[in-house]
């Protein structure tokens, strides 16, 4: 059963980068393995419709890839990537970046991203970073 999520942040930069790489490898795979199915589909007279790939579609594809990846760790054992569920304080930083901050008994987690990728309104602004840091922040945290 599909359980829709309420997103507060989606990094389109990262998602697009990963999606394009995953999709190009999928096209090659599908072309090789399912060529016959494609022909049958056309023979039955269905009209091909160009599917619009939304941001959510891309995120779903990338998330599936990451969840299956051996490089996805946890809060207790982060690897190249990590996932978790946590009580966090989050908000914009003087209109420049967004920070998600939380902690457990053993870990302190800080996630920093571009304010451009916040879905909807960011939380109460606290603190901030100067405009000069914006380019650097986006380059690193996307």
């Amino acid at each position: 059963m599909i359980e829709p999520k309420v997103y507060v942040y989606i990094s389109e930069t990262k998602v697009n980068m990963f999606y394009e790489q995953l999709e190009s490898s999928d096209v090659r795979k599908v072309g090789a393995e399912y060529g016959v199915d494609v022909k049958l589909f056309k023979w039955t007279g269905h009209r091909d419709r160009e599917r619009i790939v939304t941001k959510q579609d891309k995120l779903k594809r990338v998330t599936e890839f990451l969840l299956k990846s051996r490089e996805l760790g946890t809060l207790a054992n982060p690897l190249r990537y990590f996932s978790g569920t946590l009580e966090m304080n989050w908000g914009s930083l003087a209109g420049e970046a967004v920070l998600f901050a939380g902690s457990t008994a053993k870990e302190i987690v800080l996630l920093i991203g571009s304010l451009n990728h916040v879905v909807g309104a960011a939380g109460a602004p606290q603190g901030g970073i100067p405009s000069s840091a914006r380019a650097g922040a986006e380059a690193v945290f996307g």
């Binding site: 989606i10 304080n89 920070l99 939380g102 650097g136």
Partner: protein
């Protein structure tokens, strides 16, 4: 060290500086990370900046789930004046950038 930068008056300026430094330091470190421990003592600075930011940052509190890229992963000793009898002296600091964050 930690006690010199108190929340309240000057908090915004403190966070401005700390976050700017954090971004710069992380940018320098990003190619070498993640790794579990730092031998290089120059990295100690970024860890304590991150500790302060986490401690004093106030925002909207929510139960969130996320997947992120790991940039820094290191055990860090807490400043002496932050440690109480029910708190451990060490924590693992994880600094990352999210692919997504959603309500849990």
């Amino acid at each position: 060290m930690a006690s010199q930068a108190r929340p309240g008056l000057g908090q915004k300026q403190f966070l401005d500086k700390a976050l700017l430094d954090l971004v710069k330091d992380t940018k320098k470190s990003v190619h070498a990370l993640p790794q579990k421990e730092f031998d290089d003592s120059s990295n100690e600075d970024i860890l304590h900046k991150a500790l302060k930011v986490e401690r004093w940052f106030k925002g909207t509190r929510q139960h969130l789930q996320f997947i992120a890229k790991t940039h820094v992963y290191s055990e860090v000793s807490l400043p002496q004046n932050w440690i109480s009898k029910d708190r451990e002296a060490y924590k693992t600091l994880i600094l990352g950038s999210p692919f997504y964050v959603a309500e849990a």
